[in-house]
Structures are given as structure tokens and as C-alpha cells.
């Protein structure tokens, strides 16, 4: 599992590597969650860690989210660096209070660091239905005191998770489950981290800025390819950190391109792109030559049946279509 070969590494293995490197680096790091030890987690993200780090660093918890998140916070208050896993991001709702009230507000009130990470597999696209497909990043981005990360590539996943574990604030770290085995990359050689709060331009362009993240990054890049064939130069920016998000980079890009299209897999109302749109409409208004379009899921639960789920998740075609509308304005 060394990180210095030339082999492609899946999104999932990149996360496993990050956990290993941090477990190696810092004795205070430990993992807790349901079925994370012997079983290696529902998605096998923590596979092999029990064998290599033992049951005191990789702890199987009862089916009890308040106990998992609450305990993680308690240990973090004592200076440990727990990485708590929710089996699916949907279950963050079952221990919600601990994340939004206990963890998020402790530092503001006491000045005391709360270095805890809440990891969970999020997102749709695997026929998981209404209770295994959640994208809860917007809930947590609305809670001051939390940081929220949703990586879109294996490289980012590894580097951002390492930063999240080292951060002295509570971080909600959402791993899009569709990416686990669908995204592969050769990772940077050796040790590296990626700073929280910084977006990245994944593709340069001059005519339109697409802002996106997570599983929509790949679709946005594919859409940009298609648009390039039709002569449009599209910039694609990956937010990576959902809060605090990198408004500076987005506003700069819009200043350059004069047009923005915001793409999220999350439902329309109050996904993070609502914030991005509102900020562009305010601070970027003078740059704009066209309405700020959004491509999102509809306001509905995530449906199970393939034709419904496929209609729910924004497609490359929908992105291309919306982009052409914005470009033509």
C-alpha cells in the first residue's frame, strides 16, 4: 500500500492510504465505527487496518450513532484525533445533534480544539435508494464551526483526508460512494497534503466557468470536452472543500469568463450551489454577462429504480445543454 509506485490507485484505496499514513504518523489517531474493524467497513475502506493497527486503533462500535459521534468528540476533547465513520452518510442524521451542537460550537464557547473527523460514504448512483444515497454536505455547511469536505479525485481524497485529520476543528468528510471504485489515479509520490478551503481549477477555459464538486466533477469535465468539440472553452473548478469554500477563486474565474454554471448532484433547494450562486449574484454581479445557471437534482428524495435515479442525477447531456444556454445568452 505504499504511495510511491506508478500504479493507479482507486479513490477507495487512496482513502485507505490516508488513514494508514495518519495512523502511522500520530499515535493519537484512531478509527471508530460500525463494522470498521474485522469487516473493514461496509465499503471496505478500512480493510486491513485492524490487522495492522490492532483493536485499540480500529474500534468496532455498537449500532449507536450518538455513542459513536459523542465518544469521538469526547476523545477529541482529550487531544486524541478520532476518525468516526457513519456507515452511510444518511445515518449522520441519527447522531446529528453531536455534530451540529456539541462538536461545532465547542471551540467558539471554550477556545478548546475539537480535532475530530466524521467520515461517511455519500451520494447517489449505486441504486441505494432514499436511505443510502444522501448528500448531506449542505446541512453541515450551514453550521458554523464545522468544516465540510467532498473530494472528487483519489489524489484530493487522500490529501484532504490527511489535512482533515490534522485539522484542529471538526470536519465532516464525505466520500462519494460512486467514486470509490470508479475513479483511479496515480497518486503524487511521497507524503503530501491538500489544504482545506482551496478549490482547484481542473480544466482551464475562457468562455464559461463551471463550478462543481464530488461525483459531478467527472461529468462536468466530460461536458467540457463535448463543449470544446463545439468550440467552447470551458473552465471547470472543483470546490473540494464545501465549507469554507473558495469564493475567491470562483469570483476570479467568473471575472475572466463572465459566465457561470453551477453543477451539483444534490437537490436544488439550498444545495451548496445556492450559496455560490448568491455570492456571484452579489460580489460577482459586475462580471456577469448571463444568468447564473444551476444544474441540480430535483427537489425529491433519491429514488431507487434506475430510470428514476438516472433522471435524478444530473447527466452530461443536461450539463452541456445548460452550458450552451448560458453561452448563447
Amino acid at each position: 500500500m505504499a504511495s510511491t509506485t506508478n500504479e493507479e490507485v482507486t479513490f477507495l484505496d487512496a482513502i485507505n492510504q490516508a488513514l494508514r499514513e495518519e495512523l502511522d504518523r500520530d499515535q493519537d489517531v484512531f478509527i471508530l465505527g460500525e463494522d470498521v474493524a474485522g469487516y473493514g467497513g461496509a465499503f471496505k475502506v478500512t480493510k486491513g487496518l485492524l490487522d495492522d493497527y490492532g483493536p485499540e486503533r480500529v474500534i468496532d462500535m455498537p449500532l449507536a450513532e450518538a455513542a459513536i459521534f459523542g465518544s469521538a468528540i469526547g476523545a477529541a476533547l482529550m487531544g486524541m484525533r478520532p476518525v468516526a465513520e457513519a456507515q452511510y452518510a444518511d445515518f449522520l442524521a441519527c447522531g446529528f445533534d453531536y455534530i451540529v451542537n456539541e462538536a461545532a460550537k465547542y471551540h467558539y464557547r471554550s477556545g478548546h480544539p475539537v480535532p475530530v473527523v466524521f467520515r461517511a460514504p455519500s451520494g447517489a448512483g449505486v441504486r441505494g435508494g432514499p436511505f443510502h444515497s444522501a448528500s448531506p454536505e449542505a446541512w453541515f455547511a450551514h453550521v458554523p464551526g464545522l468544516k465540510v469536505v467532498v473530494p472528487g479525485t483519489p489524489t484530493d481524497a487522500k490529501g484532504l483526508l490527511k489535512s482533515a485529520i490534522r485539522d484542529d476543528n471538526p470536519v465532516v468528510f464525505l466520500e462519494h460512494k460512486y467514486l470509490y471504485r470508479h475513479e483511479k489515479e496515480v497518486l503524487p509520490e511521497g507524503e503530501y497534503t491538500i489544504p482545506l478551503g482551496k478549490a482547484e481549477i481542473k480544466r482551464q477555459g475562457t468562455d464559461l466557468s463551471i463550478v462543481t464538486y464530488g461525483a459531478m466533477l467527472r461529468r462536468s469535465l466530460d461536458a467540457a470536452d463535448k463543449l470544446a468539440e463545439r468550440g467552447h472553452s470551458v473552465e471547470v473548478i472543483d470546490l473540494r472543500t464545501i465549507y469554507p469554500w473558495d469564493s475567491e477563486m470562483i469570483l476570479e474565474s467568473v471575472e475572466k469568463t463572465s459566465r457561470a454554471l453551477l453543477v451539483q448532484e444534490d437537490v436544488r433547494t439550498l444545495g451548496i450551489m445556492s450559496e455560490v450562486g448568491a455570492v456571484i449574484a452579489d460580489e460577482g454581479f459586475e462580471s456577469l454577462d448571463a444568468p447564473v445557471g444551476r444544474v441540480t437534482a430535483p427537489d425529491s428524495p433519491v429514488p431507487f429504480s434506475p430510470p428514476l435515479e438516472d433522471a435524478f442525477i444530473p447527466s452530461v447531456e443536461r450539463i452541456v445543454e445548460a452550458a450552451e444556454k448560458t453561452l448563447a445568452f
Binding site: P62, A66, G128, F131, P298
Partner: protein, 318 residues
């Protein structure tokens, strides 16, 4: 005392449950089913024995694993296949999958993943029965894993305070996903918690359908008569993986062997043969009937149309 007619009916239901799940598993392995499956093989005696104690008008709150219990409360097996196939005319019209469906007209709740949400929801149903002075009973199932959740505690405590007509079934099938009992609790039986709510309770052999049915019937009738809630733990074994994809190699071979010997249908069949409630001809006839019904339902479901993507956001609101 369970009469012969009921004994036969319990047999019929258990075998139908198994036939349905066997079919689902085979479809799943052939890659013909959509989404996940959570099978209750080995638990049929509890799934059927408890839910069969309910009457029309009573409600059942199953979990992901309690498909078979839904059969005992009268679900049409077409609904089961239609939902696993994600079909447009299924009980969720493709909005949800696998066992996440039910039949509100029969009092079978649509369960959700979050465990054990059916417990507090069932206390509310029981509260409505009490407020409306309806002699109905709510029954909620969950696994032993789910008893670690706080909501479980809140439901039991509230039910006991208000003496609500609700029966709580815990199926202790030795595992919660990969986690054995020891990582979930320190006690021998979950019923050790009943005194904490001054609640009546029973621990039963979950592979003995008659024992389960008698305990559940007593509890249901007590609840119906105003005698308050009951907690029943049935000890059994999950004979397959947590879900279709899980080979469950964390389960010791010997444990599986031991419980294969205690297969609830095999034992019960022999008992009914011994008691002359059943004979080989009847057994064959029942098998035949199930097979035909299951094949018909599966075939029909597979042939039924999927929903159209254009209706993705229909029905979010009433």
C-alpha cells in the same frame, strides 16, 4: 394452545416465506434483481410466529430483514417482487427498493433504513389506538443490533409510561452486519432490559414457531385488553450474509452447522408429520402451490414496466 389449523397455516406461511426469499436470492445471484437483498433465512419461525399473532387492523413495523413477517400479516407477494424489481406499479412505484415497502391498507408499514425507527413510530400508532379507543395492536420488529440505538430505549420507556398496546419483537440472530452479540451488549438476553421499564417480557426459542407464536399471541392479546406493552426476544440465527453481497466469512462454520441442524422449517415439518397435521402429500402440494405462486409473481414483476424518468419528482407531496 395452538390448534391444528393454525399449525398448518404457520407451516404454510413459513414455507412461503422461504420460497419467496429463495427465489429472490436466485434472481439476485443471476443479476436480474435491482439493488440489495436482506434475507431472513433461518429466522422464519420468528418472522412468521410473531406476526401471525396479529389480527386485521393491527399494524406491523418490520425492518429490512422482516420480509417474511410481512407475509404473515397478509402482504401480497406480488408487491414484494415488484418492489425488488423497482417496477412502476410496485408498492413504492420504484421510489424505494428491496424490503422497503409494505401495504398501508393492511397495516404493514413502509420501513426505512434507520434502525429502529419502527419502534417509536409504533408507539405513536399504539397511542392513536389508545386515544381513539380502538382495540388494535401495533407490533414492531428489530434486530438485536438495533437495540443499541437510543431510539429503542425511548420507545420502550414511552410505551411503558402510557401502557400502550404495542408488542416489541427483538430478533436476536447473533449478528448485526458483521458484529456478533459481544460487541453489541454485555447481557445474555435483551429482555434483561425489560425491568428497566417495568415491562412484561419473554425470551423464546426463535426457531420454534409454536413457542414464538404463543408468546406473541399472549402479548398481543394482553396489549389489546389494555394490559400494556411487552418485549419479546427470539433467539435465532441469520443463516446468510447481512445482504446479498456479503459472504459473511466472519461467521464461524461450526455455528452455521449447529444452526443448520436447528433449521426452523425442517424441525417444524417433522413435528407436524409426527402430529399427523401434515403428510407428505400435503407437503408436496403446499410446495407446489408456493412454487407456482412465486414463479408467477416473479415472472409478472420482471415483465412489468419500470417507471419513467420523467416522474422522478412526482409524489413528493400529497
Amino acid at each position: 394452545m395452538v390448534d391444528d389449523k393454525t399449525k398448518l397455516e404457520l407451516y404454510r406461511l413459513m414455507t412461503l416465506g422461504r420460497a419467496v426469499e429463495d427465489k429472490l436470492f436466485s434472481l439476485y445471484r443471476q443479476g436480474r434483481l435491482l439493488g440489495a437483498i436482506y434475507l431472513g433465512r433461518g429466522q422464519e419461525a420468528t418472522e412468521i410466529g410473531a406476526a401471525a399473532a396479529l389480527k386485521d387492523g393491527d399494524t406491523l413495523a418490520p425492518t429490512h430483514r422482516d420480509l417474511i413477517a410481512q407475509i404473515a400479516h397478509g402482504i401480497d407477494i406480488h408487491r414484494i417482487f415488484m418492489n425488488h424489481f423497482g417496477r412502476a406499479d410496485g408498492p413504492t412505484r420504484g421510489r424505494d427498493g428491496n424490503t422497503h415497502a409494505g401495504d398501508m391498507s393492511k397495516g404493514i408499514l413502509y420501513n426505512i433504513s434507520m434502525l429502529p425507527d419502527g419502534y417509536p413510530v409504533s408507539t405513536g400508532i399504539a397511542l392513536s389506538f389508545k386515544l381513539r379507543k380502538q382495540p388494535q395492536v401495533a407490533m414492531a420488529y428489530c434486530g438485536e443490533g438495533a437495540t443499541s440505538r437510543g431510539d429503542w430505549h425511548e420507545a420502550l420507556n414511552f410505551a411503558s409510561i402510557k401502557q400502550l398496546p404495542v408488542v416489541f419483537i427483538v430478533i436476536n440472530n447473533k449478528f448485526a452486519y458483521s458484529s456478533p452479540n459481544e460487541t453489541e451488549m454485555v447481557i445474555e438476553s435483551v429482555t434483561a432490559r425489560a425491568p428497566g421499564y417495568a415491562m412484561k417480557s419473554a425470551t423464546v426459542d426463535g426457531n420454534d414457531v409454536i413457542a414464538v407464536h404463543e408468546a406473541a399471541t399472549e402479548a398481543v392479546e394482553r396489549a389489546r385488553g389494555g394490559g400494556g406493552p411487552t418485549l419479546i426476544e427470539a433467539k435465532t440465527m441469520r443463516m446468510l450474509g447481512h445482504a446479498g453481497h456479503d459472504p459473511a466469512d466472519y461467521v464461524p462454520e461450526e455455528l452455521l452447522k449447529e444452526w443448520e441442524e436447528k433449521d426452523p422449517i425442517k424441525a417444524y415439518k417433522q413435528r407436524l408429520l409426527d402430529e399427523s397435521v401434515l403428510d407428505e402429500a400435503k407437503i408436496a402440494a403446499i410446495d407446489e402451490e408456493h412454487k407456482a405462486a412465486v414463479e408467477e409473481a416473479a415472472t409478472m414483476a420482471e415483465a412489468a414496466p419500470l417507471p419513467d424518468g420523467s416522474e422522478v419528482s412526482d409524489g413528493v407531496y400529497h
